[in-house]
């Protein structure tokens, strides 16, 4: 899937670690040191208890397919219908992504199927975490 520069993430000071991690092939979450909540998307405090004592943790990369649609109303830079999915990470948080290495069809994309993260370099700065059907390869 080619990319429109107007849809690329612009990292902020609070999210830069996530994008640097993705570039290294690491999916990074955060965990509260006060209440142990694991959360995403990034922010320098816990959304559960508001503690600023939080640390960055590396996710296993294992997830399940939580829900999705297959977009058929295509932007001009994309040539075939594609799934926009939400996955549930093994650690709990959910994130939006695309499913790669699988036909973009309801038959191939079954809810709760196991997935694993892969990293798709888009520009020198930005690598997008995406997910594929599990092969037991995630960290």
């Amino acid at each position: 899937m080619s990319i429109n520069p107007k849809t690329l993430p612009r990292p902020t000071p609070e999210t830069r670690h996530f994008w640097e991690g993705a570039r290294r092939g690491e999916l990074l979450l955060q965990q509260c040191e006060s209440c142990a909540q694991v959360y995403f998307p990034p922010r320098p405090f816990c959304p559960e208890c508001a503690s600023r004592q939080v640390r960055v943790i590396r996710a296993s990369g294992r997830a399940t397919l939580y829900s999705y649609v297959i977009n058929h109303r295509l932007p001009k830079w994309i040539d075939a219908p594609y799934a926009i999915a939400v996955v549930e990470l093994e650690e709990g948080p959910r994130m939006m992504t695309n499913i790669v290495d699988a036909p973009q069809t309801p038959e191939a994309l079954v809810l709760d199927m196991p997935l694993e993260v892969v990293f798709e370099p888009v520009t020198a700065d930005i690598t997008l975490p995406k997910f594929r059907p599990a092969r037991g390869g995630a960290r």
Partner: protein, 380 residues
């Protein structure tokens, strides 16, 4: 706030709805505002409170010649107007102003005098959703539905049927954009937009506007129109990111807003004669019926299938045809409020005979915000 202490005395839509390329967005606001003021015999000079979304109150005050002592530019998407009603009622009750004008106008189809909203690439949604090919509401608002279907056994036929029932209402409304009857099969055979959603399960894209005038219940009796009392209101927000919605089968904002409005009005579900559930997509009335407590979790698809929300049913829902068949300029909440007012005045084309209490429930963003207004034509 005491139920019924504030009333809607003026209400109107823009003169034309649908395809209105001869008016810019701000003129759609003004057209609706002038119609609503004429409805209750006022002029802009009589207005001291002003609320609007999609344009700044400053723009509207200047354009209409209003000198407000209270303004509200709350913009949380399509239910902003429900919040405006709530805030206006509180402001009037607190004495901050006496006569509030709420305006809406949107050139959602013709794009005259407006520009597309863009997701900020540095926002959390811009960083963590936009790169994955989301392209407007049809590719985001629809995402939770597969999960709902798996959890509760909702069938695609039941989902498609929401659009079928609303078309039955639209057929009774001369101002509805789409009035020809459709079947479940027609919906399932229509063009796929974002599987599993077909075009007939997605809202229309139109131009239009609407406006409301509110004042105290004491003053309301001096107006030529039948007062529609604000009995209870609620509001809440959850998240601008559909992927971060807590529960894909239920909206927290709906639950919070709905419960607050019902409690404030002091009504039970059996008291509700008429219900508007903002329907940007076919699943919205399903979530609305459940999250507001009209049916138990997982039962709404069957409830609609059994005809309870259709013409002749025990709970008439979206009697103008809704966003799916009446009109949808982008922020539909104002048109839902207009239909509640028409039903309580006895002027709706598809009239619910003897309706005394109408609940009008809106969504903003993609399950991001919610506003609920309980209206009645009897002062408690």
């Amino acid at each position: 706030m005491k139920p019924g202490s504030v009333a809607i005395v003026g209400a109107a839509e823009s003169t034309q709805l649908g395809l209105v390329p001869q008016l810019s967005q701000i003129q759609l606001h003004a057209d609706a505002a002038l119609n609503a003021l004429a409805d209750c015999g006022l002029t802009p000079k009589d207005i001291d409170g002003l609320a609007c979304a999609a344009e700044w109150p400053t723009e509207l005050a200047h354009y209409l010649g209003i000198t407000p002592t209270w303004v509200d530019g709350t913009m949380v998407g399509g239910c902003s107007f429900m919040l405006h009603v709530r805030h206006a009622a509180a402001a009037i009750a607190a004495g901050l102003c006496s006569t509030v004008l709420i305006t809406h106008g949107e050139s959602g189809r013709s794009w005259v005098g407006t520009q597309a909203m863009q997701i900020n690439q540095a926002s959390l949604a811009g960083q963590f959703e936009l790169p994955y090919g989301v392209l407007g509401a049809p590719t985001m608002f629809t995402i939770p539905v597969l999960r709902y279907m798996k959890e509760y056994g909702l069938t695609h036929e039941q989902l498609a049927n929401v659009a079928v029932v609303q078309r039955q209402w639209a057929a009774r409304n001369p101002r509805a954009s789409q009035r020809d009857p459709i079947t479940v099969q027609d919906v399932l055979d229509s063009k796929i937009i974002a599987w599993l959603f077909h075009v007939l399960e997605c809202c229309l894209v139109t131009d239009g506007g609407g406006a409301l005038v509110l004042t105290s219940a004491e003053r309301a009796k001096d107006f030529p129109t039948r007062p529609v009392y604000v009995l209870g209101t609620g509001e809440s927000v959850e998240t601008p990111m559909i992927s971060q919605m807590q529960d894909f089968t239920s909206s927290r904002a709906f639950r919070v807003s709905g419960a607050k409005a019902f409690a404030e009005a002091g009504i039970r579900h059996a008291d509700v004669d008429h219900l508007m559930l903002y329907d940007a997509f076919a699943h919205l009335p399903i979530y609305g019926l459940e999250d507001l407590g009209f049916v138990a979790k997982g039962e709404a698809g069957a409830f609609i299938w059994e005809g309870h929300t259709a013409p002749g049913g025990k709970l008439p829902v979206n009697t103008n045809g809704g966003g799916l068949s009446y009109m949808h300029s982008g922020m539909y909440g104002m048109y839902a409020l207009q239909e509640s007012v028409r039903q309580l005045r006895g002027t709706a084309p598809a009239e619910v005979p003897g309706a005394e209490i109408s609940v009008c429930h809106g969504v903003g963003g993609m399950f991001g915000a919610s506003g609920t207004v309980v209206l009645g034509n009897q002062r408690p």
